[in-house]
């Protein structure tokens, strides 16, 4: 049984301790699985749907909300991701005073390094928790390579990956 308040709180927390739309994943992964409110497959599926949908990538959590808790989940997720960015307003008010402080830039640097680590662990989690085999590694490496060329649209890469999945797993 999902407790809506706690559910909402977990989404707010994940967004509050994230930077960018995808780095809230590990936190949600830890918390929702611990409460048994999501299953492993929900994460891969909602990320894939989020990549296909328009709007910021961060909207993948709306799909996660829908998969785990229906329409209320989607609405709660949407409200939850909208709240933490409002902290930009107090930051804007004090920015000129704090921007030159040494410890502030050290913290920002630390957060940026952590974001990279988080993104690596997100990739690792998705890959290892979704029936890892040589075929999924080939697809992941291929997608990575195509993205790095900067010439292929993300949507095209995902369509190619779907095609590869159909050919490799469909028969």
């Amino acid at each position: 049984m999902i407790n809506p308040l706690l559910y909402f709180f977990l989404f707010v927390k994940a967004s509050l301790f994230s930077s960018g739309g995808l780095t809230n994943l590990p936190s949600l992964h830890q918390d929702l699985l611990a409460e048994s409110w999501a299953v492993e497959a929900d994460f891969g599926q909602s990320l894939a749907i989020g990549q296909i949908s328009p709007g910021p990538n961060g909207l993948w959590v709306i799909s996660l909300g829908y998969l785990t808790y229906g329409l209320p989940g989607a609405v709660l997720a949407l409200i939850a991701i909208t709240i933490p960015p409002f902290l930009v307003l107090p930051i804007a008010a004090i920015y000129d005073r704090i921007a030159k402080l040494g410890w502030v830039s050290a913290v920002m640097r630390g957060i940026s390094l952590a974001v990279i680590g988080i993104l690596i662990s997100v990739s690792w989690t998705i890959l290892t928790r979704s029936n890892l085999d040589w075929r999924s590694v080939v697809i992941a490496v291929g997608a990575c390579g195509l993205m790095l060329t900067n010439r292929v649209n993300l949507l095209v890469i995902l369509v190619l990956a779907a095609g590869a999945g159909y050919l490799l797993y469909g028969f």
């Binding site: 509050l16 328009p54 961060g58 050290a106 952590a114």
Partner: protein, 221 residues
């Protein structure tokens, strides 16, 4: 802060943001481009400097940077009501489509062909995520490399530590972030040698931040 062009009405602001949300497929780089193009190039409601400053603020804010940017631009153009209509415009139509796609997926998910395609798409999102990380790392890598091998090694060490903390030790993300922030103050601000304050350092700084901001734009959201 005065607008060089007459500002938009609320309904117009809503439609502009809805258009940006619905046209941005394939991640944040296209959204960032559309926002810049619309508000700076086309309408002249923001100067490039204002835009860059706003974006630097958004990188510091938690959560989705694009939402923070929408809040700042909405406030500049229409106050509190401007923020509300801008957010509704950016998020509601796109969120509705995300829901519809999810419903659609739930209807077809049991078809074996769909299962097979999904098994291809999921590892691809892992690859995409890794590239987001690589692009995010590039400006930081250049910056640390310029400050010497010791700083670069420290940076790499922190990345490895964060990854291990999450994947292997399963430490909760808030603690990982707070720990990394404290460790960074200790290492970069206290223990390791500081970059020599060049006479031109005050002028250099915004330039560096701007560069980082731009590179992050490409990678982020």
């Amino acid at each position: 802060m005065e607008l060089s062009q007459p500002g938009p009405g609320l309904w117009q602001l809503f439609r502009i943001w809805a258009g940006i949300g619905l046209q941005s497929f394939g991640g944040g780089a296209s959204t960032i481009y559309l926002i810049y193009h619309t508000f700076v190039d086309q309408r002249g409601w923001l100067t490039p400097d204002e835009y860059n400053r706003d974006w630097n603020l958004c990188i510091m804010a938690p959560g989705i940077n694009l939402i923070a940017l929408t809040i700042l631009i909405g406030r500049k153009l229409g106050g509190a009501r401007g923020v509300a209509v801008s957010l509704l415009g950016l998020l509601l139509p796109s969120a509705a489509i995300t829901c519809i796609l999810t419903v659609g997926f739930l209807h077809v998910q049991d078809i074996p062909a769909v299962q097979a395609m999904l098994r291809g798409v999921i590892p691809a999102t892992a690859g995409v995520m890794l590239v987001v990380g690589i692009k995010y790392a590039q400006p930081l890598y250049r910056e640390l490399k310029a400050e010497g091998k010791l700083k670069l090694g420290t940076g790499l060490g922190i990345i490895v530590l964060v990854t291990l903390a999450i994947v292997l030790w399963q430490i909760a993300i808030p603690f990982v972030l707070i720990g990394t922030a404290l460790l960074s103050i200790l290492l970069f601000n206290r223990l390791l040698p500081q970059p020599a304050p060049a006479p031109a350092s005050t002028e250099k700084k915004p330039d560096r931040e701007e560069k980082q901001g731009r590179a992050v734009e490409e990678a982020h959201d």
